[in-house]
């Protein structure tokens, strides 16, 4: 294997996560907390860490249907994340608007504005599904680095 590719394979074993709440009802956010705080799911076993700053993030987890008021803030925070980065949409809201579909404040679906790489549908998705989404995002990240 090319040494550079081996290095990239090591690099993706440290995916740091950042949450963006784009108008979510908080249900998916609670499930994200479950992946971190409940021993059975423990997202840290994948080398993950929830970080407080978008500058430290590699994988961005976005919840919520993206309403009008928060759209520009979400796009601004997304721009703060250094390359290479991967976007994971958590829950059904970013895909279709979920229970908020058709609401006058809803500006979704999310991929009109953001390059979503992985969708984790569910209302809310199970923690196992979120962990699988993070693993899929890791593969996307690896291919984005060119390995």
């Amino acid at each position: 294997m090319h040494p550079m590719n081996a290095f990239k394979k090591l690099a993706v074993r440290s995916p740091w996560l950042f949450r963006i709440n784009a108008g979510s009802c908080n249900g998916c956010d609670v499930e994200l907390v479950a992946t971190a705080c409940i021993p059975r799911f423990d997202v840290e076993r994948l080398g993950c860490r929830y970080c407080g700053s978008p500058r430290h993030a590699d994988i961005v987890l976005i919840t919520g249907p993206l309403n009008l008021r928060i759209r520009d803030k979400v796009l601004r925070v997304w721009d703060e994340v250094p390359e290479p980065k991967v976007a994971v949409a958590v829950g059904i809201c970013p895909i279709s608007g979920g229970v908020f579909r058709g609401g006058y404040t809803i500006d979704g679906p999310m991929d009109r504005y953001l390059p979503i790489d992985v969708n984790v549908p569910g209302c809310p998705p199970r923690p196992q599904a979120i962990l699988e989404g993070v693993l899929k995002a890791r593969e996307v990240w690896l291919s984005r680095m060119g390995a």
């Binding site: 290095f7 990239k8 090591l10 690099a11 993706v12 074993r13 440290s14 995916p15 740091w16 021993p39 423990d42 840290e44 076993r45 994948l46 080398g47 970080c51 407080g52 700053s53 500058r55 430290h56 590699d58 703060e80 250094p82 390359e83 290479p84 680095m145």
Partner: protein, 321 residues
């Protein structure tokens, strides 16, 4: 004092530089793993800190438009170089006797705040309001934990010096040599308060919960580190790994320095094992079991408990116990 080749090698290879970095990162990996196990989680792989660094090396470094670019990018290097020099001053009993001609415990006392100062410089250069908040918290915390540290260093120096018959012995080489001849300070009743104070000082200086107020990620979004990304952030992590090694090594040298009979390699391993034990007691358990202090609680904590303990030891050592 001229900078000789051997001094440079001590800073770059052993016991500073490469050795201290590797050992410090490994200790941090063990720390994260044990902490996870204490909380009944699986935890990351042991080599996770190395993986994190590999990842950070592959990311881009963003500099905010309003930041002072030079100070922002130079700040992580201040902490890193300061700690590389400090690591070379720490004797590894039985394998390396330190560099008494390069600096004693007072020099260490001045070198130890460098990573914290680097954080403050970086945080204020980043032009982020959270950086400024982190600056003031880091400053307050530093002023609070330096007092017990100074008292502990003086107590150890006084005790070692009293036996020699001269004033306080500030050289770590003399401190280690005295304990190898006359028994370890960690088992001396008069020095137990100083040991307790040092164990309480460790999480404060390393910014570990419950004293992680300057970088509190859930209230001031990582404070001074907020705007750092990629390799620049990696340098802060390297400096932190080195500092972990330096303060743990200093603790071992001051309280439990006696080497094993055997070669240098055995004693390097023995030294690392003692550092690990010190870390598990003072850092890992505290981190796994506590939340975070309010800033004022964190500041007053050091003045309320470790400072009087260390001063008690200093008084006992001064009276000749």
């Amino acid at each position: 004092m001229e900078l000789t080749l051997s001094a440079l090698l001590h800073m770059l290879l052993f016991p500073g530089g490469v050795f201290a970095l590797g050992a410090g990162l490994l200790l941090k990996g063990v720390d994260r793993r044990v902490q996870a196990r204490l909380q009944r989680r699986v935890g990351p792989p042991l080599l996770q800190p190395f993986l994190d660094l590999a990842k950070l090396a592959a990311k881009e470094t963003l500099v905010p438009e309003t930041a002072n670019r030079t100070a922002f990018l130079a700040a992580p290097l201040i902490g890193l170089t300061g700690m590389a020099v400090a690591a070379a001053l720490i004797p590894v009993p039985g394998a390396y006797s330190g560099m008494p001609e390069m600096g004693d415990m007072l020099v260490l006392f001045y070198l130890l705040p460098l990573p914290a100062i680097a954080l403050m410089v970086g945080g204020s250069a980043s032009s982020s309001p959270f950086g400024a908040l982190g600056f003031s918290r880091e400053m307050g915390l530093m002023l609070a934990y330096e007092i017990p540290l100074l008292a502990v260093l003086l107590a150890v120096a006084m005790k070692a010096g009293a036996a020699v018959g001269a004033g306080p012995a500030l050289s770590l080489t003399v401190v280690v040599g005295h304990q190898m001849a006359a028994g370890q300070f960690g088992f001396s009743p008069a020095m137990l308060p100083a040991l307790a104070a040092y164990l309480l000082f460790l999480p404060g200086t390393l910014g570990v919960p419950p004293f992680d107020v300057p970088e509190a990620e859930s209230e001031i979004v990582e404070g001074p580190l907020l705007e750092y990304s990629g390799p620049a952030l990696g340098f802060f992590h390297l400096a932190s790994a080195l500092k972990t090694m330096v303060v743990l090594g200093l603790g071992v040298d001051m309280f439990f320095p006696t080497p094993l009979p055997g070669g240098a390699l055995v004693n390097v391993c023995w030294f690392l094992a003692k550092c690990l034990a010190l870390m598990l007691v003072s850092l890992t358990v505290a981190r796994a079991a506590t939340g975070r202090f309010r800033p004022d609680q964190a500041f007053t904590f050091f003045l309320k408990y470790p400072a009087p303990l260390a001063l008690a030891s200093l008084a006992l050592a001064w009276m000749g116990f």
